[in-house]
Symmetry: C2
Subunit: 368 residues, 2 copies
């Protein structure tokens, strides 16, 4: 595939770590929430194996925060998601599908409950802050909505635990999955969550002090030598194998949370109030006719820039939305929206990658 | 400056013209409304002179439309902008600053009144559809909000008039600036506005039928040979000289419309109702302390990826937000937020471009 440059400008915001990751050899960016998000350091497969064996530090500042503060903060956050947050606890992270009044997906952030009246929504790629502002204005809610200067640095991979213990002390080991707490490094306090956009384990450091964050970034590389630390970024291959869905790639506003497999994050039975509840009740009664599933394809490369139709003979089985060559499986792995009649995974699929026809099978998610 | 590739994916949406502009030699993209927007065909200065002399066809599908239909459509559009739309006419385009309740800028689309109950907002780069959905849900407005599959192709440059007349007939000549009407090509109807993101004259074709639009695109190149037609894109140099402000570059949510020089699009005196009106009244009474102005700098290159401070001795004069080398002026031209005490344009400025110090002056907008 032909490659194209990215035309940088102030609108495609840099992060506090941009100059560092450029020194570390980033080669490609994507844009996420109007910000540079590193996408490769030149060899996706090498980065994939490294992530699964060692530890990487990622600049994921593009996971911007919508901060909601005020008497009605919890009410507003609940209005935006179909997940029941009535028992949410301070110090915990919640994966929350955000939907519109028709039940269409808008985003799938991680919500952090910072206090009874303060939340952060750690966003996928869409301006949910504008949705929040619109609702708050329409309902005259008592909230302040902003995008604070919070820049996330992720530490991911099996050796992330040892590295973070070395830098921040043993206290970090007490942190449970999707919990967060505060830790101090060189006099600066950091909110750190045990979370991240890989299934290899690790942390996300919510940097509120740019200089302090840069100092911690540098220390992670110094202290991380013995753990073979490298700069990295969310890895396309790993995230597809692990079924970490990507908003805008795997689903968009035309899909509802049932189709995305988010059933366990949908509450249509309790008394909670959110936009789109009526629509979801209706969808639930009617049932869905398609859902996201995995596919495994006999091919050694692919680049998905638009939906690719999956066929069986002349019948459309579904649409491929993300895919990458997995050097572990020696096949292409992908995430696709599959029609109901093919959910039994028995039907072989074919597709065109460029001009070449390839064959594959449907599987469950996660793939690995 | 080091160059980086763009990591394509479905999330960074392709347009109906992507394969064509790639054949035509696009080299760099930016991302705009989650879509590929061409940024260069390899030589910005050559493209600048060509745009000012001939005619170019641009893929600006990334100017996505928010479609608002329904009994409350006009009410909702008015709620989002400080411009008085009470006398807006069907068939006309309106440049409308969109603000939040605090008076901060969110976008600066062109609004097209399609009928009494139907509008399109032709967006700059932010998800105003989510703002509209939030307000509509909060106020229970009777509207349908969507992003229709409308993809804009612009025809820009002094020879655009002759080219469009040749392809679409003499009727197109009757179109006035910021007016729109419908024209037929090979059986497909196109909404065409006399507008565009250059000051060189031309049209924007709102393509609602992908195949029809591709056919028109191809015809423009066939018929345009005699006018020296080329593929192009919004040109950084030309748009800065002409002071076509770029949302996210020249202003953002931290700026109000007075600071952007949008005074003539602000109505705080009539009875119209919009979010942020109270805030604008307050700002208006207090007065502003900074505004966007032009700068001319003695330098032969620049790349702005973050605000660059402008100094006089040790005093900060303002912040540079966009800039490019102008081969006409043989200097760097830029758009900057300038403090009130320097609005008289008498104070020389200095700035660092990379490690090099350069000198310049403040000027009015547009620069040329």
């Amino acid at each position: 595939m032909k490659k194209f440059y990215i035309a940088k400008s102030r609108r495609l915001r840099s992060t506090p770590f941009t100059s560092r990751i450029e020194s570390h050899g980033v080669t490609a960016y994507t844009i996420y929430n109007h910000m540079l998000l590193p996408a490769s350091f030149g060899n996706l497969e090498k980065e994939y194996f490294h992530l699964k064996e060692h530890v990487q530090v990622w600049d994921v500042a593009a996971e911007r925060q919508v901060q909601v503060i005020g008497k009605d903060a919890t009410k507003l956050v609940q209005l935006m998601t179909c997940r029941n947050l009535s028992k949410a606890k301070v110090g915990r992270c919640y994966y929350v599908p955000i939907i519109d009044e028709l039940g269409g997906m808008l985003n799938d952030p991680v919500a952090l409950k910072l206090s009874e009246n303060k939340w952060w929504l750690s966003l996928a790629d869409s301006d949910i802050g504008l949705y929040a502002k619109g609702i708050a204005s329409g309902l005259s809610l008592k909230v302040e909505i902003s995008e604070p200067d919070v820049n996330i640095m992720a530490v991911q991979g099996p050796k992330s635990f040892k590295l973070m213990e070395k830098v921040l002390g043993k206290k970090i080991n007490k942190l449970k999955f999707f919990g967060f707490d505060y830790y101090t490094f060189k006099g600066n306090k950091f909110l750190i969550a045990r979370s991240g956009w890989s299934k290899q384990g690790g942390y996300e450091v919510y940097v509120e002090n740019r200089k302090g964050g840069q100092s911690l970034y540098d220390e992670l590389f110094l202290a991380g030598k013995e753990f073979n630390v490298e700069a990295g970024c969310p890895n396309l291959i790993e995230r597809i194998e692990s079924a970490l869905l990507s908003s805008g790639n795997d689903f968009d506003n035309g899909d509802n949370p049932y189709e995305c497999g988010f059933d366990k994050y949908i509450d249509i039975d309790s008394e909670i109030d959110y936009l789109g509840k009526k629509a979801l009740i209706k969808i639930s009664k009617k049932g869905i006719n398609r859902k996201l599933m995995g596919v495994i394809i006999d091919a050694d490369k692919i680049e998905v820039t638009e939906e690719i139709s999956l066929y069986n003979s002349n019948n459309i089985v579904g649409n491929l939305r993300s895919a990458a060559y997995s050097p572990s499986l020696k096949k292409v792995v992908g995430i696709a929206m599959i029609k109901k009649e093919y959910w039994d995974k028995k039907t072989p699929i074919e597709l065109k990658i460029g001009e070449k026809k390839s064959n594959g099978t449907i599987c469950d998610l996660p793939i690995v």
